[in-house]
Symmetry: C2
Subunit: 325 residues, 2 copies
DNA sequence: CTCCCTTGCTTGAACGTTTAACCAACTAAA
DNA sequence: TTTAGTTGGTTAAACGTTCAAGCAAGGGAG
C-alpha cells in the first residue's frame, strides 16, 4: 500500500505538503503540486479512506434505508441515488428495514454505527423515523411534515383524474392499496379533489377493494383509477376473468410506470415519478445538511408526469355509456 | 464521542485492557471484563469503525456490483444479501455498473478504493470482471468458469421443458432475450436438452423473436417457453392482440417468478430462484475467502423450483391439437 | 528457596491522514 | 533600513484502535 509518506520521502518534502498538494488545501507552489501529483499517479496512490475518516470524522458514506427492498420502485431509486451520490464522491451503504418500524429504526442505527455521514430514508408506511445523530433526508410525500423531497403524489392523482374527466368519464372508481400509506392517501386526495362536481366517485381499498371495484363496473362506472400499477394489473386480471374489456368497457389507470406497465396489454396509462430528479435533490439536501448549510428547497416536491397509453379511452360502449349531464 | 480511552480512565485501567475485554482477545479477568462491559454499555460506547479499519486493514464492508440496478431481480438479491451480511456484521456498499463493461470495472475499482474487504458481483452479460486486489465472489451461472454460486439455470430450463413435455406438448417455441447472456443460454440449453426426441423446437431471440414466436403459433406450436417473465408478459400481450388465448391455444412459461407473474392473467407458470440460499452462500464464500480459507462449495449451484400456474395446460384446442406421435 | 510458568495487566508504537502552529525567506511598503 | 505581509513550506500532534512485547505478582514444582 502506497501512502502519503512514500510520496513525501520520494520527493523529499514533508507529508503535510503532500497532503496539501493532493487535497488543494494549504499553500503549495504550482510546480510542487505538479511534481507530487505526477509521483502519486506513478505510484498509483489511493488515499486511505479509513485514515481520513478517522482524522476528519467524515466517511463520505451515506446510508440508505428503504421500507422493503422488494418494493418495485426501489431499484430505480437505488440506481439513480447511487449515480447521484457517485458524482459527489459519496458511497451508499444499504440496509433493509424488513417491513417493520422497529427494524427500520435498527437499520438506521446500524448505519450510524458504521459511521455514515448522513441518512436517506424512504420511511415505512405510516412511520416517522426517530431523531438520529446524523443528518437525515426523508423521501416520502408532501403531507408528511418530515418530508425532505418527494414526487408530487397529490399532483399525480390530480393529473390522472383530470385526464379521466377530460375524456368524458363521469362515474369512476378509485382503488387504493393500503390506507396507512400517506403516499397513497395523497394520491387519492389529488384524484378526488380534482374530479368535477358532476362526477361520482367511490373509493375502495386493498384486495377486497379489487373485487368491489370490478363489481361496481356493473353499476355503470366507466373508469378505475388505482394508486399503483401492481393494483392495476390485478384489476386487469379480474376484468379479464369477468370478460370486461379494457378500455372499451372500462378505462384503467395505474401509478409509478413500472417496467411491466408498457408491456402489459393494453399498455397501462399511468403516472411516472421523476426519480432522477428526486434522487438528485435528495443527495443535494443531505449534502447541504452534512456541510451544515441550510438545504435549498427542502420539502419541495417534484412534479409527476402523466403517461397516457391504451388502457384509457373515451367511454364509448353503448350499454355502459352515460351521456354527459 | 465516547472512546475506549474514556472507559479506560473511568475504570482506571489501560486502553489495551479495555480493547481486549471488549473484543475478547487478550488476557483479562472475568470480573474486569464485566466491569468494562458495564461501563461501556452505560456510556453507550460504539467502536470507531474508521479507527479499527485503519489499524486492522479491514472495514467489514462488502461491495455489491450489479449489471443494472433496475434489474427486477435486484431488490430481492440486495435484500437477502443485506440480511445475510448483517448476520455476519458486514455492511453492503452498492454500485451500479450502468449497463457497460467499462462502468462495471470502474464500479469495482471505486468500491476497492473505498476499502471494501470483498466484492460480490453479478456480472454484466458476457463479461468477466478483471482481477481485483480483494477477494471476489461471482454470481452468474454454472457455465461461467469464474462462477462462485448461482441458481441452476440449466436445471431450471430442464424443469420447465420436462413440465411442458409431460403435459403433452410436442411442438414448442423457445424464446430468449439476449444471446450474449450466459444465464439465458444455460436456461435454453437446459430446455432443449431435456425435450424428448419426438419433439420439435424452434429457438428465437429478442424483440423480433417475440413476433416470430407468435407467428409460429399459427404453424402448430402449442407452447412458448421464455427465459424471463418479462418476455413472457410481452408475448402474452402480443397473443391477446392476435386473439390467441392462453393456455387454451398455447401454453406460456416465464422465468424468475417476478412480482407480477402471479398477478397477471393467466397467472404465469415460471421457475423461481432460491435467492435466499444463493445470497447466503455468496456471503459464506466471500467471508471464507476474506479470512483466507478455501470456501466450501464454491462453484456449486442452487436448484431452481418450478412454479406451475394457469398459463400452462394440456394442449387441448381441437384446431391446434397434434396427437402424440 | 529458587526457577519457571501462568495470569492479568501496562507500555508504546503503529495504522495514514489532516491541521494548527510555526518558521524561513523573500517582497513591498514606509 | 526597518517593518509588515506573503509565500512555501515544516513540525508535531491528533484521530481511536489494535497488538506485540514487557512486567509484576502469585503459584507450583523441584
Amino acid at each position: 500500500m502506497v501512502s502519503i509518506k512514500k510520496i513525501a520521502s520520494d520527493i523529499g518534502v514533508s507529508t503535510a505538503t503532500v497532503s496539501n498538494a493532493l487535497t488543494g488545501k494549504g499553500r503549495v507552489s504550482e510546480e510542487m503540486v505538479a511534481r507530487i501529483q505526477a509521483r502519486a499517479d506513478e505510484l498509483g496512490y489511493r488515499p486511505s479512506i479509513a485514515a481520513r475518516a478517522l482524522k476528519t470524522g467524515h466517511t463520505g458514506i451515506l446510508g440508505l434505508v428503504m421500507p422493503d427492498l422488494t418494493n418495485p420502485l426501489f431499484p430505480r431509486i437505488a440506481q439513480t441515488l447511487s449515480i447521484a451520490a457517485d458524482r459527489r464522491k459519496l458511497g451508499i451503504l444499504i440496509a433493509d428495514s424488513r417491513g417493520s418500524a422497529d427494524e427500520q429504526s435498527e437499520a438506521l442505527h446500524r448505519l450510524v454505527d458504521r459511521g455514515v455521514d448522513g441518512l436517506l430514508v424512504v420511511p415505512q408506511k405510516g412511520t416517522t423515523p426517530d431523531p438520529m445523530p446524523v443528518p437525515i433526508a426523508v423521501i416520502n410525500t408532501a403531507s408528511d411534515p418530515t418530508n425532505s423531497v418527494s414526487a408530487d403524489h397529490w399532483g399525480g392523482g390530480a393529473l390522472v383524474a383530470q385526464h379521466i374527466a377530460d375524456i368524458g368519464h363521469r362515474k369512476v372508481i378509485i382503488l387504493g392499496g393500503d390506507k396507512v400509506s400517506e403516499v397513497q392517501r395523497d394520491r387519492i386526495a389529488g384524484m378526488t379533489q380534482t374530479l368535477r362536481n358532476d362526477m361520482q366517485a367511490s373509493v375502495f381499498w386493498g384486495n377486497r377493494g379489487v373485487m368491489q371495484a370490478v363489481a361496481e363496473v356493473q353499476t355503470g362506472a366507466t373508469a378505475i383509477m388505482t394508486t399503483s400499477d401492481l393494483i392495476a394489473l390485478r384489476v386487469r386480471s379480474e376484468l379479464i376473468r369477468s370478460q370486461v374489456s379494457v378500455p372499451d368497457l372500462v378505462s384503467l389507470t395505474g401509478f409509478d410506470d413500472m417496467t411491466f406497465a408498457s408491456i402489459m396489454h393494453p399498455a397501462l396509462t399511468t403516472v411516472a415519478q421523476n426519480v432522477e430528479e428526486i434522487a438528485s435533490r435528495a443527495i443535494d439536501i443531505i449534502s447541504a445538511k452534512i456541510q451544515g448549510a441550510a438545504p435549498a428547497q427542502e420539502g419541495e416536491t417534484v412534479p409527476m408526469r402523466l403517461v397516457v397509453r391504451q388502457s384509457t379511452s373515451i367511454p364509448t360502449h353503448p350499454a355502459k355509456r352515460r351521456p354527459p349531464q
